[in-house]
Symmetry: C2
């Protein structure tokens, strides 16, 4: 069986097809027609599962956001010196980004044209803010340099991490997920300069 049969579709598989199409065409540029063609099922079959493309978007970005916010609930993100918690969170952010690559990619490309997109942007800002607070605490504890303003540092670190979605391909030919994660942690905390 090479093509999915209508009755083998689950909300889960439909979601993964939708996320792929959203990432390829942009959410705005995707119609129910595109989703129907990509999934190989009729539009009415899609409507059997979801109310429309905005529901698919909401489910997809929820998955990415749950992954990211989940990190902050983990023990190592809650207990210990702020700098160590921050390092843990950065490491886990890269892991979640790579494990949920299409979902996080979609989240990062959200523009804000619909209520769901604006909600997703708001949640992203909230997450950024939580990480910025951790960085501020680490600076207050004297473990992080004080000569780069916290909001600016947060933006630049997120810029480095989020850029991974632009080039990482999980086909095993480039860097592995582990190499990427370790490289980010080393660069974010230690920088390029050789440690004395």
């Amino acid at each position: 069986m090479t093509t999915a049969r209508r009755d083998t579709y689950t909300p889960e598989t439909l979601l993964s097809v939708a996320v792929r199409v959203f990432n390829e065409r942009g959410y705005d540029g995707t119609s129910m027609e595109h989703l129907s063609k990509a999934a190989g099922i009729s539009k009415s079959s899609i409507y059997h599962h979801v109310a429309g493309k905005e529901e698919l978007l909401r489910r997809a970005v929820t998955r990415a956001l749950d992954g990211l916010f989940g990190i902050l609930e983990e023990e190592h993100a809650r207990v210990g010196r702020a700098a160590e918690r921050l390092e843990y969170v950065v490491r886990r952010m890269v892991e979640v980004l790579l494990a949920e690559l299409p979902y996080v990619t979609l989240l990062l490309r959200v523009r804000g044209n619909t209520a769901t997109e604006r909600w997703a942007l708001e949640r992203r800002r909230e997450f950024d803010h939580r990480v910025a607070e951790l960085l501020k605490a680490a600076a207050a504890e004297g473990d992080v340099r004080g000569d780069v303003e916290v909001r600016l540092a947060t933006r630049l670190v997120f810029g480095m991490i989020n850029s991974i979605v632009e080039w990482y391909r999980p086909d095993g030919r480039g860097s592995s997920a582990r190499e990427v994660r370790d490289a980010v942690v080393r660069l974010v905390f230690g920088g390029l300069r050789k440690e004395a």
Copy 2:
């Protein structure tokens, strides 16, 4: 006089309008009609200046690329230890990105659907490669950490720098160009950790 008169248009002002519209709507999503409306001149007046929108794209990305490649010709990028040249190049990259913000933004958003876009992507790769070579030389001279693979480090550093176009606003309310530049240089070379 609040609207530009037809005969006050120069290729330069037309280019700056076109770049703004390309960045707002995406290059693919911009028609000559959009450009004509935004510039407040007729399509035939635009054709008086340029052969079409692809020529405007080529001129715009050429401006960004000339700025970036120009850095590599500067004395401090050519003479001295590789790590110092690299630090100079990173600092100047941020300066050029901020000075030519709309042009570099457009360059970074090029997709590769037309010959001009593919040429721009090729030139970008060439620039990335030149910076990667500098990083490799700095590692060989023992001034840069050896535990992050050169290509991966280059990608992550470019990711941090290029992300600036997503949030920097030259309206004087957020961080200044100088603060951004210094923050990038500090984080790229020293990382977040407080130097001992």
